[in-house]
Subunit: 394 residues, 4 copies
């Protein structure tokens, strides 16, 4: 069994030596120009046996429990490149988990195996520009059976990593007449299939990225795939998506916890060396000291809440933990926003530049309060649960 | 060994049946008029073996670890009368702990034994009107040796429970020339000693209370007590006070967590039965649902932070945990303020009345952000610790 | 015409000399014990020609426009006794305005004249414990015509100043079948009428007060008054109430602005003289400096918003300004809460005591976010107005 | 004299018709690719007599008072292109004002005239990477007299618009031995002078821009300019900079007020058309209604504060208004951040894209809380002023 403390420590040392020092260079370049350097690090990670540690040992991972993987996700989150280098990047992790749990032998051989090895990338096409992502059962993309095929038509966006992906898992309505939660299925669509069009990479808080960190608009026009490309039962799309969301939110939240930790470290260092007058350091200003205390409180409370939710999932399963998961989703995303905002304030003009990871996170992690359920959606879940729990109390 | 889950559950049931229903009556009366009812409940608590569970079994308690007692303090905190009924009320708990650890046999026989049994009450006279409580080493009260006596002169306020107490533990300077942390000693002063004057009970957010919940101004004028009334070594006053502050802050913070829990329950119930128009409940308003979600987040994160700090104390001792203690002190006190404010808002006009515990807590727990170190003091501690931890990081 | 700048300045000097120094004494006593001192000041105010300056000159006032009276209300608000001493206290001001605008000659002779002179006091009975005050059209109190009388039955609370009042203006349903806004009428009920029962003075954030600052629970049981006691038309109760609410909210908001101004002054002074160590003043701490800056921003922005709303009312009337009035109601009440909270924090233990006006305001002005429409109600008004204004924009 | 209401209205109509519809296209492109379209609009603006309205009529402007120009800056601020199209863009406005007030005839002929006409652009090189911008007197760039020349050496960054500028006004130390505020002078340096090197355009929250909206790192190496290029007296650099900062802050703050106004309009529209389920609009959700109320309060209070500060400057001059200016600088910048954050939240995924101006503003206006004095600096000014005003109060 893995000594998780040592594992996390080893990863941290690796990141501090090999990744942190390269950040200023990498942040200044498009992803495709630094990919070769990252590939080389990925090979090294694989050689050390650290590859994709969430995977079962049989699949080449370390078989970590959710609680343990949470701590790995935290340390990987301290740099924008951590998850990618350790093959823990979204959306591939989620797709791998879905295929591990629900894939047929053929699907596994074709789609899963090269993905697990890092030979391919994948994407997950769910959100549609015409409908609010906060209502995941409201989709217009359809997959209509014709003979032994599904014919897909629809419009997606924010399909992360579509640029360069070998395949997409597409959420499409297979039975419009069914109850909302039973309408859709998850269908594997190779990105080179006829009718699968990557319209453009979206300009997300800046110029569009290419490759893994890109988010694409995708159009499906009479795109035909075999019925065998459906994952799980027809109509199970939403249920399978829910399964991945729980652990996925733990991963995200712990990544944000890692970001907070690093942002605080960067802020504290900045406060030590930055002077506002000769010999007068930011670290001597009470406003800065108190700001760090607030960020530390945000970081530590977020961390305990996420680890507690992971423990609940490990012990009692996703369903029992769903309110805990909703709670961390909005609480940690908001804490992250505050911590990054404070970190940038202390960095001053430097904080506005893509020379530390702070500006990168500030721009891109604003989405944390929107995707996977906006804050408002999760507050509804938690508030209503509190209301229910009070019914019948004497 | 105590089954802490069952113990907490039993206490909760007892409070729900015997205490909560009496609150509207008790809150409307001065403490001295309800004392006989509380005495009767205290006898019952003793009979059930629940008395002062933080005490060692040998002293009549349940010998709970700090982490376990924290959970007891939480459930007792759900009503303003919980700690008193279970003989867990400040400042007696702290005085008992100090005498258990540092009292001489004679001090124990004279002062501790009747206090443990609940036959007497006590107080702790530290804060002075002339000096900021945020700097506990800055005191003017002096105890000068004359023969086999100390002669005390000084001025104290916010001496909780002095009205009706058998004795005070007075923090007084015994060596003005020593280093700040070695100047003061803790000295036992019977309240009927000549020169010990309870000037008045203070009007704390309303008319002055009498008895246990009162806070007094006290003047010591040539007040003479035997040298044997000193607790511990001369000059050890501050060190002994620090010892009691760590666990004391866990007790306070878990009491506040209990208050938050109850405030949320009261709020949720109110939202269920209060209509803004026929058939239109507060519980149907999204503003109320979201407000409850925010309070739940404040409550759960506070709870995890305090339990984590208690675990650190149990495992590594007070010194190692001092930053965790400073962090919970300001974080939980602020969360408490927010939760109570929201609860009152949902209760509307009723929230302004001393008919639920909310108004009582709103008024009296405003002090939570002031006593035992104001928020600003603890933020200094935490922020500086964060700064230190960043030094030397590559 | 009044030179408003000089008028405000004269009042400020009067308050600084004659009222501020008495506050510590007065705050420590029930209102009825200090009333004689206040009466003597009221006589002096009358002698100087400063009495009730909102009144038309013909009625013995100074005939101030709303914008000018707003500035008077601000300076009076700097002490809890200002409005009372200048005969500008709620609810008498509102009742006077209603009777001036809508009273019959007989009503004016009987009820208004002694009230204007300060020989009597009055109250306004609208809020009912059974219904949310946020929906003012939902009332259960009924006034049924029987011959030349109304027979009133109902239950009210938070009837401010009922204790000692000569009469109440009671909001009662006269036509249950009418549209909600046309159901109620305002009816004058002498407090010595048979069937008018002052059940109790409410414990509002502390022990119940007596006299003017009290808030009572009132029960009307077959209470009979002449039809001629109705103010205005039958069914006009709500409309008349709305009329008084607009200027009433300007008065309240400017009173809160005055409170903020005084709280900031008290805080700044405290920061100057309070030391945390010998020679180290609170004023030297950046946390305190920044806190004062935040409070100053709250104060100045509140002030400008209220004066702007008053200008809109003076220029375009109540209806045109109703969104501005809703906006200041929640914005200024929330700013007030923040400023008082900060002031208490800087005062430390002293801030918890009824020795400065801060604790008094902290307790009693919590209601500012509840009465006359809770924050949530006014946010609904403002947010929906913003939504309407965007419709049809290109 | 200009009818300011009509003027602002005409500009608004022009922007709504000619600029708003082009934003989605322009935001997706680098500035240099849309410059020709903007040039064409600038010609039209000039033809209509709207060019640079802050300029005296003699210089081709409309001779607006600061209060009137504030309202123009507000409406121009509703689109990222407004100020540029009307030749009101920073840093050219500031440079023009400095040269108008302090330029010699020769400086005006060479540098000012083509700039006023829009034939050239300019930049202002003050901030240095090695020193905190919050202390503007701490500079390392030096200008040493050699014969009839200054020889400049130094390192600057965040020199806005340097890319494409004809000249820079460089803040350089001319007398290192003088008192801090008398050390530096402002010196005109043509960008094609030998030794003036534009090292790079900085990656400010995204890929580096080119042209006017770029921010450059600049290095001066033995860069020689005639003594006659100094603006005003030697050592007057800081004083002249201060003069431009006051009105400059009014301009900035009103631009931010305009941004808030537009962000609220975009949010309200979005709430009208975006559905979370068929027929269920965001506008129907109380959370969205309340969010709009909060943003409206931020917008209106900011607007009144800035107009009040502008009035103070117009009436009593810069010095008397300096605390009002510090107050609006941090209050309005923070309000702007909140309003933009809420706007993005309501826009959901779309808010993350550079398809509305929101993401652009979110990224770039984060700097509002940093440049021209960080929030913390201005809070120091305001808080200390409050402390001073309390001294000597009875």
């Amino acid at each position: 069994m893995v000594d998780i403390g040592k594992f996390v420590n080893d990863i941290e040392n690796f990141l501090r030596e090999r990744v942190y020092p390269r950040e200023p260079v990498w942040l200044a370049k498009p992803f495709v120009e630094i990919e070769h350097e990252l590939f080389s690090l990925r090979r090294e990670v694989k050689a050390r046996g650290w590859w994709a540690p969430y995977l079962p040992i049989a699949s080449g991972g370390s078989g970590l429990a959710l609680l343990d993987y949470a701590r790995v996700s935290e340390v990987l989150g301290t740099t924008p490149y951590g998850h990618y280098v350790f093959h823990c990047q979204a959306p591939d992790v989620g797709n791998i988990e879905v295929l591990l749990s629900h894939g047929t032998d053929e699907q596994r051989a074709t789609f899963l195996e090269p993905l697990v090895k890092g030979l391919t990338r994948s994407c997950f096409a769910m959100t549609e520009p015409e409908h609010a992502g906060s209502n995941p059962t409201w989709l217009s993309t359809e997959a209509v059976r014709e003979g032994d095929s599904y014919v897909l038509n629809g419009h997606k966006w924010f399909t992360t990593g579509a640029d360069g992906a070998a395949f997409a898992i597409v959420m499409a309505v297979t039975d419009p007449a069914a109850a909302p939660h039973l309408r859709a299925s998850q269908i594997l669509v190779p990105t080179d299939a006829e009718g699968f069009e990557r319209v453009r990479n979206l300009p997300v808080m800046g110029a569009p990225e290419a490759g893994w960190p890109s988010h694409s608009e995708v159009r499906l026009t009479n795109c035909r795939v075999p019925l065998g490309n459906r994952i799980g039962d027809e109509g199970a799309g939403f249920r399978i998506a829910q399964e991945r969301l729980g652990p996925g939110r733990i991963h995200h939240c712990m990544r944000w916890v890692g970001i907070m930790q690093r942002a605080i470290e960067l802020t504290a260092k900045r406060a030590h060396y930055r002077e506002t007058a000769p010999g007068e350091k930011l670290a001597d200003k009470q406003a800065i000291v108190h700001l760090l205390a607030d960020s530390q409180a945000d970081y530590l409370s977020s961390r305990l809440l996420v680890l507690d939710a992971a423990t609940q999932i490990d012990k009692s399963g996703m369903h029992a933990a769903r309110e805990a998961i909703s709670l961390i989703k909005f609480v940690v995303a908001q804490a992250l926003g505050r911590v990054l905002d404070r970190a940038i304030q202390v960095h001053g003009a430097l904080g506005m530049l893509d020379e530390t990871p702070l500006a990168y996170w500030y721009r891109h992690e604003r989405a944390a309060r929107i995707y996977d359920g906006a804050d408002e959606v999760h507050k509804n879940v938690v508030g209503k649960a509190v209301l229910r729990s009070a019914v019948g109390r004497p």
